[in-house]
Amino acid sequence: MPTKIEKDTATGRMTTGHEWDGIKELNTPLPKWWLYVFYISIAFSAVWVLLFPGIPLGTTYFKGLLGYSTRVEHVENLAAVEAGRADVLAKIRATDVADILKDPATATYAVAGGRVAFAENCAACHGAGGAGQSGYPALGDDSWLWGGDIHTIRQTLMHGIRSVTDPDTRMSEMPAFGQILDREQITTLTSYVLSLSGAATPAAAVMEQGQTLFADNCAACHGDNGQGNREFGAPSLADQLWLYGGTEAEVAGQITQPRHGVMPNWGGRLDEATINMLAVYVHSLGGGE
């Protein structure tokens, strides 16, 4: 409840006229320096508003006397980062991929740079982190259709696989055995092939027939024991990895009417430094040889 401004008898000072529960507030002035600090702050903000952009003017804005802009600063920062990277990128471009691994600092940079480039260009097919998906090989396992040493990885990146736009690409086609063998033969062959990778062994007669069919039609590319052949990118049939699926129907389908994946040639689309970084990164995923 407001009271009147009056002189406080105990201190001889004036009250503010505010009263709470019978307690009256003394009018205690603030120190002068405090006031001055306040004025200086006001002056400072006025100067600030003049120097830096901040006042909206309809469709445009007041640019500030310094002409400062975060956008310009951002562009400059990007240019600075670009310039800072130039050295190490030039080094990565000029170094043989195998030698990049010999220098820990460059290797670390290449792995990090490769990870970014992979996410941008490769992950759509090969999955994040090279997880792979049906028809697109996983890159972190220990099986390579065309070889997994770092130079081969780089070659695959540069020229692709079955990439018709690149004369140096690697080609291979599995014949469509649906036109060569009959249905029963394909079923037999399927059972035999699956047994190579540890599935239940079929009846002895089927096994024998399958073996003959395999030796006549498949062994030339896939090897006598189905161990695969990297020269033709022929997958191993004796392991547990199946690019197009490992059920009886899927294997039979692949024999009848094979599908063939295409890997684009990245040479020309990505610069060589990026390709080198990608090679180093893919090699580091856990399957590199």
Binding site: P29, P31, V111, G127, G140, G245
Partner: protein, 503 residues
């Protein structure tokens, strides 16, 4: 600070209509001699000595490492405290130390009031030093007041300039010493003097020089009254058993002027000489009772004791005592010794003991190896050509020792699992000889694989131990091994999923 002005004799002047903003009433503290003053001088020398000399204490840590006993190396991200070395992620030791110091301050305050404020606070210590310089150059209280009122003369200007120069030199030394806690002292001294120090060093140097000069030279008691939060809540630590500087009103009143030879019968011991007011660095009158401004420095005790001595009256008219005793004495009862054991002192002591014990135990048992393990999320797992499942991890081994060391990485899990450790670029390392440089972090890849047949469940807990092969220190971390659900749908498959058995 009260607005009722104190005139030169210490009398209260009444301000009828206070202005909205008040000019500072300049305080001219008078010099005083006595035991309290001597203790304050001694403490001042000791504390400033420690502050200025500590950065120069050397401590051999071997080649290539700072040989400064106390160093907060911001660039190297290390704190060195004699033979203790603190990494940025161990900064909680510093937090613990600060909490400990805070509780210690609570305890001291609840026992002896604002002992910290009056004797140990840097603001008080540097202000004391600056006032000593002022007194040396401009004379004592009376002379300074006279001088400030007088017209500007060459002598007056000379004295003022000299004072500010000396103040600035002390402030610069203070600011310079501050930098030395963050950079090697001899090096940074040379750098500062030759103009080759970093912009950061110079701006810090300037900042601490200016703040010292402004706070100790100009602001002084205003820091304690207006800026420092401590006086505002220290009242919560006091109770009626707390010892503070107090005027024994029951004995001093009724005060009055005294003429030599008069009897003290029927009057108080206080002769209203205002000595206690004139020596007070915060410019208050202790006879008004306990006040927010009072920093408990006890200079008024010395001042009044000197007066009492001359009058052959008992000393301690202003003295240290508890509120309870003062009340008892006022009623004519005999005072009791201060009660040290009170709930609040017990709680504070208990906290200090617990905190101290926890910190000490932490320090004594801390290992100089640390490890973190992050499981790959993409892919969650990989199927290998023999059908086994492999998980990838990023393993970091922190070697906090100076010496490079070889570490063994051991993975506990189902029988038959295979773990390999690789450099970031894929090169495999022997799992019992993973080299990590001294004072550094090794960033590695780890692969764990298990044949499908032995994988107990979709998520198998793994326990990983990293051991320093030389010191035997170990760090542990728990993680998971993830496998595809058994009987996974084989039609939707990538080759990272193993086929199930054929019928």
């Amino acid at each position: 600070m009260s607005t009722s002005g104190i005139d030169l004799d210490g009398h209260h002047e009444e301000t009828a209509q206070p202005a909205l903003f008040a000019n500072r009433l300049k305080v001219y503290p008078k010099a005083v001699k006595g035991p309290v003053r001597r203790i304050k001088w001694a403490l001042l020398v000791v504390m400033l000595g420690i502050y200025y000399i500590l950065p120069w204490v050397r401590w051999d840590r071997g080649p290539g490492r700072p040989d400064q006993a106390l160093l907060l190396d911001m660039e190297g991200r290390r704190g060195y405290f004699f033979n203790l070395e603190i990494w940025p992620d161990e900064i909680y030791y510093l937090a613990g130390l600060l909490i400990l110091a805070a509780v210690l301050l609570f305890l001291v305050t609840s026992l002896y009031g604002r002992l910290w404020c009056g004797y140990a606070c840097p603001q008080t210590v540097w202000t004391d030093l600056f006032m000593w310089v002022e007194r040396l150059i401009e004379g004592d209280r009376a002379e300074r007041i006279r001088n400030d009122k007088a017209k500007l003369t060459v002598r007056k200007a000379g004295r003022k300039i000299a004072k500010h120069m000396v103040w600035l030199v002390i402030a610069a030394l203070t600011g310079g010493a501050w930098i030395m806690y963050f950079r090697d002292a001899p090096t940074v001294t040379v750098e500062l003097l030759t103009g080759s120090a970093s912009g950061m060093a110079y701006s810090m140097f300037a900042l601490f020089t200016v703040t010292t000069y402004v706070l100790a030279g100009w602001a002084r008691e205003q820091v304690c009254t207006y800026m420092c939060p401590w006086p505002r809540f220290q009242a919560a630590m006091l109770d009626d058993q707390t010892v503070t500087v107090t005027y024994q009103g029951w004995r001093g009143e009724t005060r009055g002027k005294y003429r030599k030879g008069e009897s003290f019968e029927g009057r108080g011991d206080c002769v209203d000489c205002a000595q206690c007011v004139q020596v007070c660095p915060t410019g208050i009158d202790i006879r008004d009772g306990i006040q927010l401004e009072c920093i408990n420095c006890g200079l008024c005790v010395d001042a009044c004791d000197n007066v009492m001595e001359k009058l052959h009256r008992p000393k301690s008219l202003i003295t240290w005592d508890t509120f309870a005793n003062q009340a008892a004495l006022g009623r004519g009862e005999t005072p009791k010794p201060m009660k040290l054991i009170r709930p609040r002192t017990m709680i504070y002591t208990g906290l200090i003991v617990v905190l101290g014990a926890v910190m000490l135990a932490q320090l004594l048992t801390r290992t100089r190896v640390d490890t973190t393990l992050i499981r790959d999320r993409a892919p969650l797992f990989v199927t290998l050509s023999d059908g086994s499942i492999r998980n990838g991890y990023t393993l970091k081994i922190t070697n906090r020792r100076v010496e490079p060391a070889s570490f063994a990485v051991m993975v506990d899990g189902p029988e038959g699992l295979k773990a390999t450790v690789h450099l970031a670029d894929g090169q495999e390392l022997p799992a019992d000889d993973v080299e990590v440089r001294g004072d550094g972090v090794g960033s590695l890849r780890m692969f764990v694989s298990m044949p499908r047949a032995i994988i107990p469940e979709e998520q198998t807990p793994l326990h990983v131990t990293v051991r320093n092969q030389t010191t035997g220190e170990e760090a542990h971390v728990d993680t998971m091994f993830v496998a595809p659900p058994s009987g996974a749908d084989r039609t939707q498959r990538s080759n990272s999923v193993a086929p199930v058995q054929m019928p």
